[in-house]
């Protein structure tokens, strides 16, 4: 993913490579030390490299974005799976099932991403639409943070 961003970049590939390498190293460090929270930062770093690549390029949308999204999603899923603190050993059947689930999800992400790109490229923006977008994104983040904070505390049933 980082290699794609560096290879396809038009300007300042060193910056993209630097950000991407930092993210990848952080993710690798988290995998070795089994730190899921650090792994998320590593994924953010890898995503940031792609964001820098997008910001530095000119022209239309990146048509390979759905594949990049699928790759990042699959990497995140497998990464969190590997650092999951499971005490029990998974059976072969469970492993195959989960692997297929991740592969299917990644495919779904690629398809949905393609649809989003097609739709977004045909719609012209406006101040109102952008305000709604900002509010929706901020609201989503707030709701997710609240739910995560509630779920984080142990609650006896």
């Amino acid at each position: 993913m980082v290699a794609y961003a560096v290879a396809a970049g038009e300007r300042l590939p060193q910056v993209v490579a630097g950000v991407g390498a930092a993210g990848a190293l952080t993710a690798a460090f988290a995998l070795v030390l089994r730190r899921p929270s650090v792994f998320a930062i590593g994924i953010v770093g890898v995503g940031a490299a792609y964001a820098v690549f997008l910001a530095l390029r000119h022209g239309t949308v990146d048509t390979r974005a759905p594949f990049v999204a699928a790759a990042i999603f699959a990497a995140a899923e497998t990464g969190f799976w590997s650092v999951e603190p499971l005490a029990a050993r998974a059976t072969g059947q469970a492993t195959v099932r989960r692997t297929l689930l991740i592969a299917g999800s990644a495919l779904l992400v690629a398809l949905a991403g393609s649809m989003v790109l097609v739709i977004s490229s045909g719609v012209s923006g406006g101040v109102a639409l952008e305000a709604v977008g900002v509010a929706a994104a901020a609201g989503t983040a707030a709701v997710v943070a609240v739910v995560a904070a509630r779920a984080g505390g142990s609650r006896p049933s």
């Binding site: 999204a69 969190f80 799976w81 029990a88 999800s105 949905a112 989003v116 609650r155 049933s157």
Partner: protein
């Protein structure tokens, strides 16, 4: 049941928030494509999250087993609301070892009944409760984790295995009930004792006609009656020597259980005293029930550190009946037990001491100073043995780890001492 968020939930929420805000700030729809799936997973995962509902029942194929045996434990799970991944852990004490996977990872479907079988190897004696099940359930997206503890414990008693015994120690004095020991007294019995002149009231069947013909007067046979005995198994639980999963207490309990079983089968009354940081005792009695009582009491025996000076006065009087044979099993690691035993001997009890040797538990000396200390310690033990020998108490040393030494041989050594010493009741 407690619920908690996994780091994945927090990570995905953060990824989604950062990605979507960056997409808006930089006007990059591609970042929406990248960050959107994380937001969707978090939203869908939280919307579909369910609280699992699982009940458990635990059964054990046997409640009483011998050390070294295997026991089957079945855990039946009744699943009302299932989960994608459930880790099931059967909590086991260190002395029980599961053969096979524990914990196990399962997929629990709604309304399902699942049975898990565990084969447990009982490595060491003890009384255990088996059946506390820990359940950790993850949802399909791995965002939430539910944990609960299902306490369905059932008792499992692991009795110490028996040591080989060839012959038992014969008590100096017997009791009044019939048993298997030839009494020193004369009376109705099988074992010939002596001849004496006929006296009015003697039965004709007791006349020894051959002796009477030779002496020209009636002489009758006298016999020793067969009587039972009182035996008290005295366990020194002040201290033990332990290394890894072996200890002198284990050997002591195995020997005590073997002695108890053998004496009870020959109609003797057997009592039990565990003398140490915690005092535990059982009055002498007979029968299979007493065997279970004593072995159950032995399972409660543990080494409790105590600095209190204790003597035999703390033992209830009826636990040590007069003329009882006291068989003391001790590692001779604590002077308090040695003094108590000598006190008992001073009060006239017929006593033998089997020393369960702790020497094999002592690490090799690493320095000259260590070697001198070890030698002094050994000399000190010799001195303690000398106290007993001077009091007329035979001491046999039994080293469980020595293949050339056995508990049966230790008892025979004691028997030989008693035979040659011709111990008389004090």
């Amino acid at each position: 049941m407690t619920r908690s968020a996994t780091p994945k939930l927090v990570g995905y929420a953060g990824l989604a928030a950062i990605g979507l805000l960056a997409a808006l700030a930089a006007r990059l729809p591609e970042l929406v494509v990248v960050a959107g799936p994380f937001a969707v997973v978090v939203a869908v995962g939280l919307l579909l999250a369910r609280r699992p509902d699982v009940e458990a029942a635990v059964t054990v194929d046997r409640e009483r087993v011998i050390e070294g045996d295997d026991v089957l434990v079945d855990v039946r799970l009744e699943v009302e609301v299932g989960a994608e991944r459930a880790e099931v852990l059967l909590e086991l004490p260190p002395d029980l070892e599961a053969k096979g996977d524990n914990p196990v990872l399962l997929r629990l479907k709604d309304g399902e009944r699942r049975e898990l079988s565990y084969r447990l190897h009982c490595r060491r004696w003890g009384g255990f409760g088996v059946g506390r099940v820990y359940l950790r359930v993850h949802d399909a997206f791995g965002l939430l984790r539910h944990e609960t503890e299902l306490d369905e414990r059932v008792p499992l008693k692991v009795y110490p295995r028996e040591e080989e015994l060839r012959a038992l120690l014969r008590p100096t004095e017997t009791q009044v009930f019939s048993g298997n020991h030839v009494a020193r007294q004369r009376g109705e019995g099988i074992e010939f004792a002596d001849l004496r002149p006929f006296a009015p009231g003697d039965r004709a069947r007791r006349v020894n006609w051959r002796a009477s013909a030779r002496r020209g007067a009636l002489w009758v046979n006298e016999h020793h009656p067969e009587r039972n005995a009182d035996v008290v198994v005295f366990l020194d639980s002040f201290a033990e020597a332990r290394r890894a999963d072996r200890s002198t207490l284990d050997a002591t309990l195995r020997a005590a259980a073997s002695l108890t079983g053998r004496y009870l089968t020959q109609k003797d009354r057997v009592g039990f005293v565990s003398f140490g940081g915690m005092l535990n005792w059982l009055l002498p009695s007979t029968g299979a029930t007493q065997l279970y009582r004593i072995v159950d009491a032995m399972l409660d025996t543990q080494i409790v550190l105590s600095y209190a000076w204790k003597n035999v006065d703390v033992i209830p009087r009826r636990t040590l009946p007069p003329h009882a044979l006291v068989i003391a099993l001790t590692p001779l690691l604590d002077d308090r037990s040695a003094h108590a035993l000598l006190d008992l001997r001073g009060r006239g009890f017929d006593m033998v001491v089997v020393e369960v040797s702790p020497l094999s538990f002592v690490p090799d000396p690493r320095s000259e100073l260590d070697a001198v200390a070890a030698r002094l310690w050994r000399l000190r033990r010799e001195a303690v043995r000398g106290w007993f020998e001077r009091a007329g108490v035979p001491v046999a040393v039994w080293d469980e780890t020595d293949e050339t030494s056995s508990f049966a041989e230790a008892l025979e050594e004691v028997s030989a001492f008693r035979r040659h010493a011709r111990l008389a009741p004090v």
